[in-house]
């Protein structure tokens, strides 16, 4: 098989240890595992996507390339900052200001022969479903909840008879981290576990306003209370050094007043930008775990993570692996959007009647929206009045083919979702 020989092409010994795993069965390999060319070919041919080329992303790209993946894409919209250099080891001082995705891709391609890494210096939202569909696996190394939710929802919405793309998600926070495997619609998704994440520990506003105890309280006071008070509608730009200096000065005055030592410029920057300390080795541990899962899923050479591994390094060290249960009423994976053909001449009310007749739906008081339009919302009262005129309107005035229709109902734990196709 042509693809299998690619692995051995450079030097017969280069992939010897990886081949040891792929050339024979082990005590834990899956029944479906056929040693030899099949897993090797899959590894060589499978397109894998890495989201993020930062602390985790650098590690993930390096690991995947060294694990035998040959066709890797990477998306990151950020540019390299001098403060990244301590852990984002694919970057050098001369790279400051350049695209993370592009520099990381070039570096790993130079270092690992035979791998192709295609970088994209853009937001994940800039890519469409067709783009994401080409991948066998997606590995996420992000620090943003919003981006993760978007990626999670996108891969879940792609599920159909031919497509099921596992999402391997890594995250770190100081000495803590986690790696998880999400099999869209089969195992629990990012949204299923949203309740588990404690949003960052916030200090009560009144503490900030009346009895600050820590330097961070003084900084938060400056940004949350003093900024809007003195600057009015001017939006705080946490990347603007002048704004940070203003906050730093205010925080320092406040700290003096309450006898609190320790307010610095860099601490001000850290607090207002909500920078979570990133530790190089935690990134390495979590990224390594994510990439081993990618290798195992791609080759079935060993059982993969089911489905959540927590790494707790801040109180001595503790790791815990458990199956996070799928949430039955998960708004994202609990039910998937279905196709719905509608006649553009129907009124919205007519559509609602037809939906209520469908046996699989038990709608009592449905509210309907698309991503950009409130079609008809039954509550609160003022919104009902504002949207009532839409009931008489024809569907062609309200939506178009490709729109997602979301239907909520007090009798249902989650929203029903449909993708509209207009046809006469």
């Amino acid at each position: 098989m042509a693809t299998a020989t690619v692995l051995g092409a450079e030097s017969p010994d280069r992939w010897r240890y990886l081949n040891n795993i792929l050339n024979r069965k082990g005590p834990y390999t899956d029944e479906a595992f056929t040693p030899g060319d099949e897993p090797k070919a899959f590894l060589a041919d499978a397109k894998i996507l890495v989201i993020g080329a930062g602390g985790l992303g650098c590690e993930i790209l390096k690991n995947l390339a060294l694990s035998g993946f040959k066709d890797i894409h990477v998306i990151d919209m950020d540019t390299i900052d001098i403060s990244n250099l301590n852990r984002q080891f694919l970057f050098r001082e001369a790279d400051v200001g350049k695209s993370k995705a592009e520099v990381a891709a070039a570096f790993v391609m130079k270092r690992v022969r035979g791998v192709t890494i295609t970088p994209f210096n853009c937001a994940i939202q800039d890519k469409d479903d067709e783009y994401y569909k080409q991948f066998k696996i997606v590995v996420c190394g992000l620090d943003s909840v919003e981006a993760r939710r978007w990626m999670n929802a996108t891969l879940i919405n792609l599920v159909d008879d031919e497509t099921l793309i596992p999402l391997i998600d890594g995250g770190t926070e100081g000495f803590k981290g986690q790696a998880r495997v999400i099999l869209p619609t089969i195992s629990s998704c990012y949204e299923c576990s949203l309740d588990m994440h404690t949003p960052r520990a916030a200090v009560p506003l009144c503490t900030l306003a009346s009895i600050p105890r820590q330097p961070a309280h003084c900084i938060e006071w400056a940004s949350v209370i003093q900024w809007p008070k003195e600057k009015g509608d001017l939006k705080l730009d946490t990347d603007d050094p002048e704004h940070i200096t203003w906050l730093f000065t205010k925080a320092l005055e406040r700290a003096k007043e309450f006898n609190i030592p320790g307010v610095t410029y860099s601490m001000t920057q850290g607090v207002v930008k909500n920078i979570i300390p990133a530790i190089a080795s935690t990134n390495a541990i979590v990224a390594a775990s994510c990439c081993n899962e990618a290798l195992k899923i791609a080759t079935t050479a060993a059982p993969y993570l089911d489905n959540y591994m927590m790494y707790t390094g801040n109180e001595s060290i503790y790791t815990y692996t458990f199956t996070h249960e799928k949430k039955e009423n998960c708004p994202v994976c609990g039910n998937l959007p279905q196709n719905l053909e509608v006649n553009p001449e129907w009124t919205l009310e007519g559509l609602m009647e037809r939906l209520q007749e469908r046996p699989e739906t038990t709608l009592r008081k449905p509210s309907l929206r698309t991503s950009s339009k409130s079609l008809y919302l039954q509550a609160p009262k003022q919104l009902e009045e504002q949207t009532r005129p839409n009931l008489e309107k024809k569907l062609k005035e309200l939506m178009e083919t490709g729109d997602e229709l979301s239907i909520s109902d007090p009798g249902m734990p989650f929203n029903l979702r449909f993708i509209i196709t207009m046809s006469e």
Binding site: D160, D195, C206, S210, L377, Q382, L383, F414
Partner: protein, 179 residues
């Protein structure tokens, strides 16, 4: 990969469709929360743009307590991280209240330190309503008002009435909020 494909075949997932303009997870959740909102007659919402459900105003008109007869407007701003992030709530008028400062910021635990994604918009609205029934001197954002409430409840009550009529309390003038 083989194993996952076989699992997939066992699962009789109806095939999902994908659209061009997707509803975001935050929108899905806000739509659901709005449907579950049970507003008493003392509260009403206003959506400047009914198509944008992430931004609206809530008006509270207490029918009991020290703030009875007033009409208080709060701006709700919900971001795409909802319900991971709480909604941002700001009082639009300058009012005399121990837990609301002169810029309209509200000290309510579930809007900040005690927010959890399982909480919904209804919980926030109930919390706001409660602030007008039971202003709380131990969580001061308006220190002067909190001191007044602590020291002399009758003086505080009088100050509330004066401020609601658009008058001065000490050197601060307040917005008229009588309905």
């Amino acid at each position: 990969m083989l194993k996952i494909w076989s699992m997939k075949q066992q699962q009789q997932a109806a095939s999902a469709a994908s659209g061009k303009k997707k509803v975001t997870a935050a929108q899905l959740r806000v739509q659901k929360d709005l449907g579950e909102l049970s507003l008493p007659p003392t509260m009403k919402t206003h959506f400047p743009d009914p198509d944008d459900i992430l931004n609206f105003t809530l008006t509270i008109e207490p029918d009991e307590g020290m703030y009875k007869g007033g009409s208080f407007n709060f701006d709700f701003t919900i971001n795409q991280n909802f319900p991971h992030d709480p909604p941002k709530v700001l009082c639009k008028q300058k009012i005399y209240h121990p837990n609301i400062d002169l810029e309209g910021k509200v000290c309510l635990n579930i809007l900040r330190e005690d927010w959890k994604p399982v909480l919904n918009l209804n919980a926030v609205i109930v919390g706001l309503q409660y602030l007008f029934l039971e202003p709380n001197a131990s969580d001061p954002l308006n220190k002067e008002a909190a001191e007044d409430l602590k020291n002399n409840r009758e003086t505080f009550k009088r100050n509330v009435r004066t401020s609601m009529a658009g008058g001065y309390v000490k050197t601060t003038s307040y917005d008229r909020v009588m309905k």
